[in-house]
Symmetry: D2
Subunit: 360 residues, 4 copies
């Protein structure tokens, strides 16, 4: 059956030993879950700052009866000694020194923060402040597998993409690659579930203030994911791409729906865009390009490592609309990290990531 995992099981000794740092946030929780279920990973240390000393199930209740180990404090030496791969789920800035230490020890690091995504440290400084480990930036590989697959095979430091950039890039990349749209003047209107704000305590993340309403924030080019999107899209277009990126907080826990608008470079149809995308993603098992009369729904990818995209053309005004849906904690974070890990360690990229999500 085509959907099943590896037909031959490796001996335990050939498994890859992996650790999770920052395991008790929402991204860390998903990282932990999918590593725990990966057939060729041996889960080692589960580390955290404020919750070190507690047991996993005290902090992440769905692990009750499943995973009872203690959350360890963060110790770079032990992490390096006992693991082949470390997944770092700390906020930007907080994990950079650890990443540097682990990298120096020769371990493969998957960093889910923004620290190593921007190649130009002056751009980083504009958006995030001084870079905490700028010397390491040139060593990093941007972990959007569908675009940088070859480079990832030998990567030692993977900068796992942001959630919004993933959704935006996945939809727009095929159009830019095929030269079907103009590289300037792109609008990206993205809608994210509340888990995107993480487990940090703030009034605006309380149930009562998110439930039943939608709101915009950081509009008009002020959100930090803007330069990350432009960097990747410019790579594909091989010229400078600029975007207006607008995030919205949607009353749902998971999912990003990214609706992008671009002017066509010549008259085209939705079918042509769809074909271009199917060709572009011919070797990408986790991306589904829908027919133009269908629409991605975040519910159809929730709990999965997949992305669904669709293409539409407003011929009256010469504009292409593309929609992409992902689960922000999986393809937008944890499963993208594991997909890059698979490429790096020689497994099929979708290995351990093909589960369908519950629907409805």
């Amino acid at each position: 059956m085509s959907h099943t995992e590896s037909p031959t099981r490796a001996s335990p000794s050939s498994n890859v030993r992996a650790a999770v740092v920052g395991a008790t946030g929402y991204t860390g929780a998903e990282m932990l879950r999918i590593l725990y279920q990966h057939p060729r990973v041996r889960l080692g240390s589960v580390c955290g700052h404020s919750k070190a000393g507690l047991r996993v199930a005290d902090v992440l209740p769905h692990f009750a009866g499943i995973l009872d180990q203690e959350i360890e404090s963060i110790d770079a030496q032990r992490l390096a000694r006992e693991h082949d791969a470390i997944f770092c789920c700390l906020p930007h800035g907080a994990g950079a020194q650890l990443v540097a230490d682990l990298h120096a020890s020769g371990r493969t690091v998957f960093d889910l923060s923004a620290d190593f995504r921007l190649r130009d440290t002056s751009v980083y400084r504009n958006w995030y402040g001084d870079h905490p480990a700028s010397a390491l930036v040139p060593q990093a590989t941007y972990g959007l597998v569908e675009l940088y697959r070859e480079r990832l095979r030998s990567a030692q430091l993977v900068a796992v993409p942001g959630c919004y950039p993933t959704a935006a890039i996945v939809g727009l990349a095929p159009l830019l690659d095929a030269g079907l749209i103009k590289p300037l003047d792109i609008v990206i209107d993205a809608k994210s579930g509340a888990s995107g704000a993480g487990r940090t305590l703030r009034e605006g993340s309380l149930f009562a203030e998110v439930d039943s309403g939608i709101r915009s924030y950081k509009l008009a080019g002020t959100h930090r994911h803007t330069p990350e999107i432009e960097q990747a899209l410019s790579d594909i277009a091989q010229e400078r791409v600029t975007v207006t990126f607008s995030p919205h907080l949607t009353p749902m826990t998971r999912g990003i729906l990214s609706t992008s608008y671009a002017l066509w470079s010549k008259e085209i149809t939705a079918d042509l865009c769809t074909e271009a995308a199917r060709s572009f993603y011919a070797d990408a098992p986790l991306i589904t390009v829908l027919d133009p009369e269908k629409h991605p729904d975040t519910n159809s990818v929730r709990g999965t490592s997949r992305s669904m995209v669709s293409y539409h053309v407003d011929k009256r005004v010469g504009r292409v609309v593309t929609v992409a849906s992902i689960d922000n904690l999986l393809k937008g974070a944890a499963s993208q990290a594991l997909q890059a890990f698979n490429v790096r360690f020689g497994f099929p990229e979708e290995y351990g990531l093909t589960s369908l999500g519950p629907w409805p």
Copy 2:
């Protein structure tokens, strides 16, 4: 206190007698509620098709113990005989003959369907099919009070605007009026709650299929509200305006958030846009223009007749972003009808419509 209603009560005989047709859908239910609470309205017949003969509270449970009258079948003669104003909440096409009959009887009709919104019946035909009462179209006044207030004072047939058009127009009108943006190439990305699809039974409206996910539909200029938006915006701009309008179904019951993108016509700031809008809405008591660092949230207008708008500028790319929030069943339907009624019958336009909504 400025927020209180009329200081002097009219004698009951001077009240306006009003009826609701199509009272058992979501818009009808809100129409009923706000008419019932209006200090100068005497609620008469409550009519429906399939639920005639039942009592209001059997169909609308929140009226239990409040409003116990029977839902009547639709009888144009009795409606005309016993009422001054009739609010027709039937789907497009279904109420046109009734509207024509009531209009012929000299009654004032507020039609919440799409039938009389488009001035050009050939445009109507393209989007909805043959017009059911085309001769009446020139008699109708588009009921977006903030834009067409003067004409509404003597209107006999009010075409109450659609929910999406209201949100889009409220945000963009001041910019077009002031010539701050280019009239072509506007993108409108709108997010609506599920009540916008009405009480019609379909799988895609079931809780399990709407909850926790967001999806697009009728993209790239295929939604029927597109020409309505363009008609009103062209009126303001006094030149042809074209838009790409994209609706999204959001997991919430009420609210529309409309995020619009336009190229500036010359270099401007968010403050300038905000001032222009405050000037434009100086006499509009139900519209609040927020400071640029704030963002409309549909939760802040839920259950109210208000709209909140804000303006933002992405100066890197020369684009203005405006966001508007409304309650789709109120400012997007029922309260907009009642606001037009207030203008038509000589009350302050916000009369009976100033209640704050529950928050959170």
Copy 3:
């Protein structure tokens, strides 16, 4: 029309001057909203601790363009000097000294905390710790208007009931009053929306951890509302009543649905219970007793000051089931306080509290 407010407006000087302390939490926000809209209240100071100095709309976004005053720090002398009634929405313990000072100044205080609800201070100590102002306890009147209406007419200190107790008592009181059920062995299974936990920051209140799931907490007689429920029910029954009270956190912002189970004292029918309740609530304009084949839904009372109750009998096992729904922030807090205020200041108890809520 019976639903409208006072036909004659008082002169402004006859209005009651009211202040809100602790205005920026969820209960405080609703207190503010309904006081602001009450026709005979002149809203004075809006006070808070941590947010003093900010403007109301900075903290409560739905007041943007409506109420722009500054949040003041808490000053007992000024509060007493400038107001007739003070609504204190601080957590238990935190406001007791202020309440004592205001009471000593002769002002009427409505305290929404638990501090003055329990008549027996030793019971208070068991559940909350040492009482912060025990000498004042005998001066307090429990503010559940439907049960203690007469005492409230002259109350100087009103202990506004808890949200869970209100829902439980409203449903069970008629049955105990009429002797239809046994006073022991009552089970109360209550489901509350997340706003019941307040605006306090904690992981368990974040959207992502409340959304889409239901959970119990503080089961088996460990929740602090247990003695409050038993005190009021024992008053009605005129004998000791014991209950097993079980709260549940439900994925909705507002509402409590309280399902109670009691053994009948003799064979009865649901109709008989319904009649007994209608008789008991004959003079209670804010309570609707439904027919037995109907069920209260928190959606039907959301945003209102009403309660709906229903009665059902499982004759196979001799048990009465009663269900009551309220909006926890209104009838469970703010509107209950204002209802008691109305009684205290000589207005009809439902004055300013009859608005219907938006539905759906």
Copy 4:
């Protein structure tokens, strides 16, 4: 690693061929998903009534790009000829003749309707009407694996339990088995997500009418799951058990939380109950008994085949409270069917059912 699936893969020819009838409802969709992912199942026909002829992904959008086969009409002969096991997800009554035909053909049938759950056809008649295939009732085995595991090893017709009964029984069974509670006078207050009502179109299931509110229905012994619960609990207790069962519709898509109340038979502690349950479930890999200070949350089992239960004692009144959480579409339907299938076909009962669900 203990959590992984079978270390040795069977040859394809040894896979069990399975079909799903009624695949396009919510239970059918989950049945399809977990069969598709089961390592030893070869998915054959996917059948439906009204949607026959469409493709799976047209009706179940999460299968886009995954499962593209056509939905077939229901043909008993072909089903029997090409499959070893048939999972029938039709409503009660609708599939009984098909079940009888397939059973006569020697196929193993897992019927997810209520038709074969009640051993006493006169009880069935009282609650559902005349039995459509009463002769087959004695052949059926009730599929609650944790209680009837041995009988299921040779079952040819499995009556898969209802969702509410599963949650109620899982919590109460250990207490009755150990004689810790009295068998009469048990109260079961259950809260279900909206998917429990299925994909049938009705106003009460629309998003706008379920969202943000909770309501009871079919109270006081009128819900059809009452006799099913009593039958299974009486089996365990070996004496007649009676319950008052009260279902509630909760604003979430999935999950049942069942809170049950019983009088203790002698003085006991929560720890004792917990130990009894752990002993009772010592061989049940899919049930987790939590410590008494913890509480099951439906979110912790959503998307999984697991159940979490906890035990609490209100010693003031001598009552045991037990809470159980399940995913109503999995342990309450589809995964329970597959768990029974595993037992019947000689696989470990948790085979293919150990995936952790996404959290949050």
